[in-house]
Amino acid sequence: MREIVMQMDNVTMQFGGVVAVDSLSLDIYKDEIVALIGPNGAGKTTAFNVATGVYAPTNGRVLLRGKIIAQGHPTGKMKHMYAGTHIGEYNKLISHTPDKICQMGMARTFQNIRLFKNMTVLENVLVARHMRLNAGFFQSALNLNLHEERRLRRECSDLLDMLGLSDLMYENAASLPYGKQRYLEIARALATDPRILLLDEPAAGMNPQETDELSDFIRKIKEDFNLTVFLIEHHMNLVMDISDRIYVLDFGKLIAEGTPEEIQKNPAVIAAYLGVEEE
């Protein structure tokens, strides 16, 4: 049995009366590329936000490498409004802030690019190394950790070199072309030393050629950095090309899972994407 890197157990996320994610369970094994797809508003990004600690799940739990990183059950007003299932199975409340979860080895990128716009490309990547700093506050604040600082800079410029961004190292992040900004966001996520990388629509706004390059790129970093990749994407060519397995969400519910071939033939998926003819 292969090691499960990330696991979601019956995760339900309800905002007021809206159930955005309904009892979602999925397992992601080591060294896999797994895609989460679904029509607009299916709850894909919400699922990502629960996994990375932005939202605490209304019910259910998330495990990262066997450790519970988020667990919740309906409390307060939600007790009466809760519309999901599996009530009473997750009685202990556990929650971590996103920075803690990132330190535990889960890194992410964002659907709408969120770079540190007034900082250079190199600084953007350096920020991601901040949490792994050995020096204490005073040592760092007085610039007494010159050795470590130099090592960090070298590591980060090597990383940028590997990803083909080293020409732009001293450029302002906001001045990069759109495609490069996407790559920089991935570079920044890689700098946190993740075990699992969550990519939220990495190919959004890219043309077909750039999308092809991106799928090669994702495969390459997966090998080079020994990663497990979990991604949300709308470009079906990319998804079918690189995914080992695919989960399909519709209206917050998991409607299918399987290999790309299975998903392409699955009638429920076709119905969700194209609609069903009335009889």
């Binding site: 990375t52 932005v54 802030t97 996103p98 920075d99 803690k100 990132c102 330190q103 890194a107 992410r108 964002f110 969120r114 770079l115 540190f116 716009k117 007034n118 900082m119 600084e123 350096l126 920020v127 991601a128 190394r129 901040h130 949490m131 700093l133 020096a135 506050f137 760092s140 604040a141 007085l142 610039n143 600082e149 960090l152 080293s166 020409d167 190292m169 001293y170 450029e171 920044r188 996520a189 946190t192």
Partner: protein
Amino acid sequence: MMKNTRSGSYAQPQEKTVKLSTVLSALVILLVYAAVFVAEQTLPSTSILFTVLKKGATYALVAVSMNLLNGFTGLFSLGQAGFMLIGAYAYGILTIPVEQRMNVYQYYDGGIVQFALPVVPALIIAGLCAAAFAFLIGLPVLRLKSDYLAIATLGFAEIVRTIFQWDKLGFLTNGSNLLREYPTFNDFNIKGADGEVTLYLSTLVPFIIAGVCIALIVLLLRSSYGRAFMAIRDDEIAAEAMGINLAKHKQIAFCVSSFFAGIGGAMLAMYQNTVQAKAFTSAMTYEILLIVVIGGIGSVTGSCISSFLFVACSEWWLRFLDQKQMIGNFEVPLLRNGFRLVVFSIIIMIVVLFFRQGIMGTKELPDLFKPRRGGKKPKRSVKEKAEQAKENAKEALQAEEQITLTAAEAAETGAAVAAEAAGEEAASLKDKAEEAKEALKEALAQEAAAAAEAETVEGGEA
């Protein structure tokens, strides 16, 4: 080819110019200190210049501490006057000589503190007191965002101001009475045996205190923590997702900023010779906020420069507006007590409307000595492109001539085969000509763009 030249020009000279510009900046700062020292020994000590320099140094430190919070960490806090007050009182309370205590605390039996500390430890404790208050306030308040944080910290400053005037705390704070008799800037002058001043240091010392503190802030900003602060300013959500603990880092920035505001408050107490809680109003915070905005939010150098300009304007250059001025027999209208503030407000409005970046934007002193990457280089490359395009255009003209020539030749010989061949050649040449024509158009457009860019750059410089 293009790629190579670019990476070369970015990676290589970067290292060298950074070093050169740092050396030049250090030289400039050294010159300023030397100038202050020389001026102090040569000019009469009553000159208004020294008032401006002392207060300017004090305000520069407080402005930089505020910039650390507002400009670099993105926390809009307006509590600076409150932290200055805490620093000023801590300094005053700890340094009043024991024999003067009965005199100062005349209504409170000499007060509760019956010892006096030297200046430097007192300054550090003043900063620590302010930082301790900031820590406690920060626990609830830093959860708030933008405007709400500003209102909460402003409220805190007002509460502190009132509490320090409270009668019941008089044994510590001397109630609403003045604190005085503690060491001031003038006590730094070295006096000879006969009481005559032999070496004036009363302006240089505040410069040194402020300089050391600002240098510490700059070091912090250049460290990994400084980068984390700027990341929080640029995008809180992304910063948190990249493993930066928001609560911890905001708390650190808040405490460090307050620490230096506290030292700034202590310096203000030294400058004023007496200190009273009543004076630390929210208007003082606004003055400092103005300095930060005028200097450029996110520029330490800007805050320093603008604090001296601000203090010089308010204490010196615009003073004449407050007095009646006679030119011959003609009395200049409007000039009377308070008009200075009107003019001041107008200047500020102009700055905010037309120079929103402030004096420095986000640039620092070393940036001024670096060759400008944005301005000059692309201009040259555009020009090069334009020249190349011009050459293409010349070729195009030649090609066109050739077309006409070959066509004429074909017509002359009348041979069908020749005509056909010539026609083919003509077609290819025509294509080439058209291509070249387009290149010419592009070249002209690029030249125009380059000219426009040059104009805007010059306009920006002006």
